[in-house]
Symmetry: C2
Subunit: 412 residues, 2 copies
């Protein structure tokens, strides 16, 4: 049972009802985005809860603070999907929903008895979003969906590296499971588009199936990589901290061990940078006149800039470069993000009161709709916090029936 | 004038009409996604065209092949937005549209005379999506929106690095302008959600404003980074090619200079990997028993695995690891992507006939809707290819009126 009556949903998706059969990142991220904009989400978790509740640093007995954000605005119901009675309960819940979002292995839902036909019979017009590593069909559909492997197949990982002339270290991970989150965001876009097609005036009332693959979501972001290969046969290679076609634009060391990004590749900005460095001669230097020559001589140019930045603390550089009107920033860590006045001012870093953790910092709601902004109605609930409320409210079961289901091990 | 009657739009957003006042990546990527799902997009470009047409490697006289994909399914009209007569033409086009997507500097549209009020008067219920570096208000709103700087403020760039114990090289760029594309995807999601809120049965008929910032779109992807900092005061640091909590999971060198990703962190997979390496003893080694110990001794473990992978060509490793059922992949370049049977089989790598370039490889349509898949109706058109068609069709201008506008330098 939840602790208090929740505030009513707000935002453009208020009125949408979503059933999540998800775990880990992609499907729960999709439903977080839908819920941020007002959708009501019922998340079905296995006994013990979604394993993601334990991902990252934990508070004894409460799990990982990430969950406070990842699970926000959702209601949680714990159910053993392997129990024979689970299928009828899922179908009963689907009856009252607009969309179902899931990221089990392809085919697993159908093997549980939750085929497209049964779902459609329960709720004509249900939108079903499947998220997987490689898609719901084809040669690779049964491969295990490891995010880092999917990102490498999508073409991202080859590029997050220094050129071989600079380093023989392996290409780095992006630092978060970016492919999962991008796939979740694509699924949220698809659900909203399918809702419009179904429900608009003159809409067709039809449900639609979405088949979102992590690999394909990543590939979709790779800009001209594929067209260039097709036309020229040329493979895009990693460029490390730099941009292949603009200089100077890189990350430079600071006296206190941080990194400062400087984008100084237009002529007027480059001039301002050289004056700030006390080296106005560089703007006239034949090696560095115009972007094309700066790109050609970028090694030497970056060496000079790096030698200068290494003499100052990151905060001092950040201030000096801002005053000189040179686009630049410290590479923000969580500490700079939490303190940033722009993020704070726009509600993109907020304190959310969480009974499990106290005040927790959450990222805000994207996209921001100033006149209809959605809300963080509550933080991620404990597993099963709403089992009784959902069985009683959505399915109309009596306290005795719920107790029987619990005793049978169907729900918890 | 376009060369042939275009095929009718298909996909869940067929019937949506979008006006793009965009350039570079974020707004045009947003409208590409909308158009992929069926929206009709009119792109207004300055004389000379969107500068992105020249980004990346070019074909003499035709520009960059990226445009074939970035501009696909859109109609292009060239107009000088600084001309006093431009405003009325934009408002005339907005009258027939559902949404406007733009990524000029915050406030610039209003300074041109295209205020929210005028747009709303022209088309009550118009959805307006603004995409910018830092948002439409606040301290940073007027800062230049450099993608690499926005990504660093969003927290991504600090993490795309090796730990200081491994390397003193700067953190790498992701290799594409990922922050711009993520912001464009968020905007597409927001447009679809706002369309549903406006147009559904019982919808409110209201237009909505979307204010999508690159920095915030990136921050939204940073998982538990912010909640963990809030609760523990702990800053997430880069982990290079590895994952902090799972081992082995990294990129390893191959005999032919490529990288192979291996995700071998569960006990059964690790056992299979050690057998394949001819080192079954490692699975019993007290240093490597269970994930926690493998994480603690990851340096030594990765050294052993890397020494083994370095003895084989990437393709051989890929095959051996697949047979042994160990999740793994070569870090795909454009070449592997273009040849991949799963991408080809699912239409995620397709050849598109382009009058400017011949056959061009495009990434497919994400999200994939098997029963209502959208279409690549035509490749990115030349700048102004549809100016006459739009002025004549949408605005009902005569050939003489169009000729006069052209002579005045309003359109081209």
């Amino acid at each position: 049972m939840s602790d208090a009556a929740p505030p009513p949903p707000s935002g453009p998706l208020a009125g949408v009802r979503v059933l999540e059969l998800g775990h880990f990142i992609a499907a729960p991220f999709c439903t977080r985005l839908l819920a941020d904009l007002g959708a009501e989400v019922i998340k079905i978790e296995p006994p013990g809860g979604d394993p993601v509740r334990q991902w990252g640093r934990q508070v004894e007995g409460a799990g990982a603070p990430w969950w406070s954000m990842h699970g926000r605005n959702k209601r949680s119901m714990v159910m053993n999907l392997k129990h024979p009675r689970a299928v009828e309960i899922v179908l009963g819940l689907a009856r009252g929903c607009d969309a179902l979002v899931e990221n089990y292995r392809p085919g697993q839902l159908a093997r549980m008895g939750l085929t497209r036909e049964k779902l459609e019979a329960a709720r004509p017009g249900l939108i079903v979003a499947h998220i997987s590593g490689y898609g719901q069909d084809g040669l690779y559909r049964d491969r295990a969906a490891f995010g880092v492997i999917g990102e490498a197949i999508g073409g991202l990982r080859y590029l997050t590296n220094h050129p071989p002339s600079v380093s023989d270290l392996p290409p780095v991970r992006v630092g978060v499971s970016i492919g999962d989150s991008i796939a979740g965001l694509y699924a949220a876009f698809g659900v909203a588009a399918a809702l419009w097609a179904r429900d608009r005036g003159g809409g067709d009332g039809r449900g639609r199936t979405l088949d979102v693959a992590l690999t394909e979501s990543v590939l979709s972001m790779m800009e001209g990589m594929l067209p260039e290969y097709g036309v020229f046969g040329s493979v895009r290679h990693p460029t490390g901290a730099r941009i292949a076609t603009a200089a100077p634009s890189s990350a430079y060391p600071t006296a206190d061990g941080a990194w400062i990004l400087i984008g100084g590749n237009s002529d007027p900005i480059f001039e301002r940078l050289t004056r700030l460095m006390g080296r106005p001669d560089l703007a006239e230097d034949p090696r560095f006149r115009g972007n094309a020559l700066r790109v050609r001589n970028v090694e030497e140019l970056d060496r000079l800039i790096g030698a200068w930045t290494a003499g100052y603390a990151a905060r001092d550089l950040d201030r000096m470069l801002a005053v000189a009107d040179v686009p630049a920033t410290i590479a923000y860590t969580a500490a700079e993000i939490a303190a940033d006045p722009q993020f704070r001012g726009r509600g993109m870093v907020r304190e959310v009161e969480d009974p499990a953790f106290g005040a927790v910092l959450h990222a805000g709601i994207v996209p921001h709709l100033p006149d209809d902004p959605g809300a963080i109605r509550w933080p991620g609930p404990r597993a099963g916090a709403h089992t009784d409320e959902i069985l009683g409210g959505e399915l109309g079961l009596s306290a005795e029936e719920i107790a029987a289901l619990r005793a049978e091990g169907v729900v918890a």
